[in-house]
Structure formats: structure tokens, C-alpha cells
Symmetry: C2
Subunit: 217 residues, 2 copies
């Protein structure tokens, strides 16, 4: 059922967690790992590529892979939910679910969440605020296999004043896709921020800068 390379990636993550491989130390060679797990080198490379994308390990041609970080020390630079982030900032996060309903997955939903066409997906429209001030209009589409967990958590506040701004106000629009460690898409979202209220910044393995522009969406 689960792909072998995902199992191996998980085992490596756990090995790093329990400090079998400590931060700064070298991972076994691809050949050794292949022998250890009884797979080909290609499969090992698929596994370590996942950890590399997560920033857990680094690599340079000719040298052993190096453990860069462990999931234990995730005190900072950890991507946070809106509420977690607000708390860290000493602000009070508010959230209201405006609407919530299942719809069959459109072509776009299916592609972004890697689901069959027509699979029921959960659409949630939320207004989120800081210290009572509405700041973010959030449209999220959840994959069917995760939506029960979402419904169980959602506090259902029937309605809310949508941001309380004119429809023509400029908004910062952000589309994003959230995935599990294994790269399985969990949700994708189309957010519109009040452009005078919030902000943010980059934090990406697959990032960009002014010198080498990238299209995020």
C-alpha cells in the first residue's frame, strides 16, 4: 500500500528523532542504505530527496549527506497555524466559520489535492482576526480523507462581517497548498489579506529572491 520509499523516509526521520543520527553527523551512503533496506539505490534516493526537501538533511556531490536539523528542535522557524502564530505574537486570534459545505471536487480541486474528480471535498470560508479586528478572509478546500478531522475541530460561528471593508479595497492574495511530510496534499487555499493589516515573509526551501525570480503560483 504505502510506497517503499515513503516507509524508508519515515524510518530515517524517526532515526534522526531518536538521535541515532545526530545533527551534524553524516548519513550512511546511498549504497549502504540500499543494502540495509534491501532496495535499489534509486529508491533510497527517492526517500532522502523527501528529507532534503524538508530541510532535515543537506547534500553535496562527493560528500556524505549531513543531518542539518531534527524534528525535536522545532521551537522556531516552524510553520504555525494562524492561532499559533498569533499567540506567539502576543495577540488574540479570533476566527469565524462563515460557511462550510461539501462539494464534488472540480478539475482544479482534483489536480491540486490529487483526488479523483467528483470526490466530495470540504469547502470552508473563514474570517480570521487579530484582537478582534478582522484581518484575513480564508477560503480553504480540504481533501476528503482529512475533512472529518476538520469538522470535528471547527467551531461553527454562523456568520461574520466580511472583513468590514469595501469590496474594492486592495487585498493581498495568496494561494497556497499544504501537504504532509510525504508530500501528500492536505488542503489548498485562496486567501485574501487586508493589505494594510498584515504582512509576511518568505520561508521556503523552494524559494526565490530578486535575483532569480520564481512563480509561486
Amino acid at each position: 500500500m504505502t510506497a517503499r520509499h515513503e516507509e524508508i523516509a519515515d524510518e530515517l526521520r524517526r532515526a534522526i528523532d531518536r538521535e541515532e543520527y545526530t545533527v551534524g553527523s553524516r548519513l550512511p551512503s546511498e549504497t549502504d542504505l540500499a543494502a540495509e533496506y534491501g532496495v535499489s539505490r534509486g529508491t533510497v534516493r527517492q526517500a532522502v530527496a523527501a528529507l532534503t526537501a524538508e530541510g532535515l538533511i543537506g547534500s553535496r556531490q562527493g560528500a556524505r549527506r549531513v543531518v542539518l536539523a531534527s524534528r525535536r528542535s522545532q521551537s522556531f522557524a516552524e510553520l504555525r497555524s494562524f492561532a499559533q502564530w498569533a499567540k506567539a505574537m502576543g495577540r488574540e486570534a479570533t476566527g469565524h466559520v462563515v460557511s462550510q459545505e461539501y462539494r464534488p471536487a472540480t478539475q482544479e480541486d482534483a489536480v491540486r489535492l490529487q483526488l479523483p474528480l467528483g470526490t466530495p471535498v470540504l469547502h470552508v470560508l473563514r474570517v480570521r482576526g487579530l484582537d478582534g479586528e478582522p484581518v484575513l478572509l480564508e477560503r480553504t478546500v480540504y481533501a476528503d480523507w482529512i475533512s472529518p478531522a476538520v469538522e470535528a475541530i471547527e467551531p461553527d460561528c454562523p456568520s461574520a462581517e466580511l472583513l468590514g471593508i469595501r469590496r474594492t479595497s486592495p487585498l493581498l492574495r495568496v494561494r497556497r497548498v499544504t501537504t504532509t511530510r510525504e508530500g501528500r496534499p492536505v488542503e489548498w487555499s485562496d486567501d485574501r489579506y487586508r493589505s494594510d493589516a498584515v504582512s509576511f515573509s518568505v520561508h521556503n526551501s523552494i524559494g526565490n529572491n530578486a535575483l532569480a525570480r520564481k512563480t509561486a503560483d
Copy 2:
């Protein structure tokens, strides 16, 4: 010199740019692309994996890959430099280079930027602010092959009051790596934000959420 799979990825990006493949249309099959470029299927998969990571195309098992976006329409959701972002927010961005010097690449520099040990890398320490208020202390290390471009742009303001806060003030710390489209690391940075001023994250193909936590660093 350049890997074949990178060349193919570039050609595909350009093909999407000139709307040879329009948004919403299907890409040729891996087999067809392999024949067209005279390479094996594995090489084609390396190429399309890059575009997938960039969010340009999507894929589902059994169906043709779909073009999700073009680099033409990058008006929003584009990762911006600090100055670009500030301007979009209607704020005035300030920046001062506190120090700037070349040092031989340490083990960490070498791994994160995928450079040989001891290669000269450019260390830049900046203070950035919004509307005159210092907000971000930014330490950036640039790869040698990109540093000339950095030096040419940098305005050198000799010094600045470092954030104007006590050394013990809590700071939000963010480490990030910036890469080119091809995944070649350009810089990595260790930033410390004034925790009462601003900041945060999210916006990632390889993201996370509260349900499936990920270690960003």
C-alpha cells in the same frame, strides 16, 4: 555542463511561457517527451518534478500532467523581497548594511549553499525597517557565484543602531534558504525579527499545517 534534465525543465518552462502549453491544458506524456528530447523516461521525470515543485504543473496517477500556471501571470502570490513587500503594503522600507565581508565557507555554509569548503562567501549584516522603525536584523550569506551581483546593488550605509532593543528581547528567529528555479541554492539566511513588530510564514508547496506538523528547519 548543465544537466540534461535541467535543460529540459527550462525548455518546458519556456514552452509554457510562450503558451505552447496553455494553462489548463495537458502536457505530453512522459514517454512522448522522452522520445522528443531523446532521453529516458527517468530524465523526463526529473525535469517535470522541478516544474511540479514550482507549482507550474500538477499531476495525478493515470492522468496526463496539467499546466496549472504560467510565469506570465505572476502578479500575486509572488514571493517578494523585503522592499517589494513593504511597498505593496504602503510602507516605506529602509535598509542599512551594517557589515559586509568575504569569509571562507564553513561546513554549514558549504552544505547549505552546496559549495566546496573554503570557497569565499559574502556575509552581509543588514538592519531593515518599516517607516523608519527597525524591524528585522538580517544575516545573509551569499554564494560566491552570485555575490558580485549583490555587491553591485548594495547601498553601503556604514552602521545603524541594531534594532534599538535590549539584547535579551525575545526575537522570532527564522532560517531560510533561497534557491533558483532549478533548486540551486543562492543564499541562506538567519533572520531575527522583533517579535512585537511583525512577521510570519506560510506559503509553501512543501508546507505544513496543524494536522501534519513539519519541521521547517
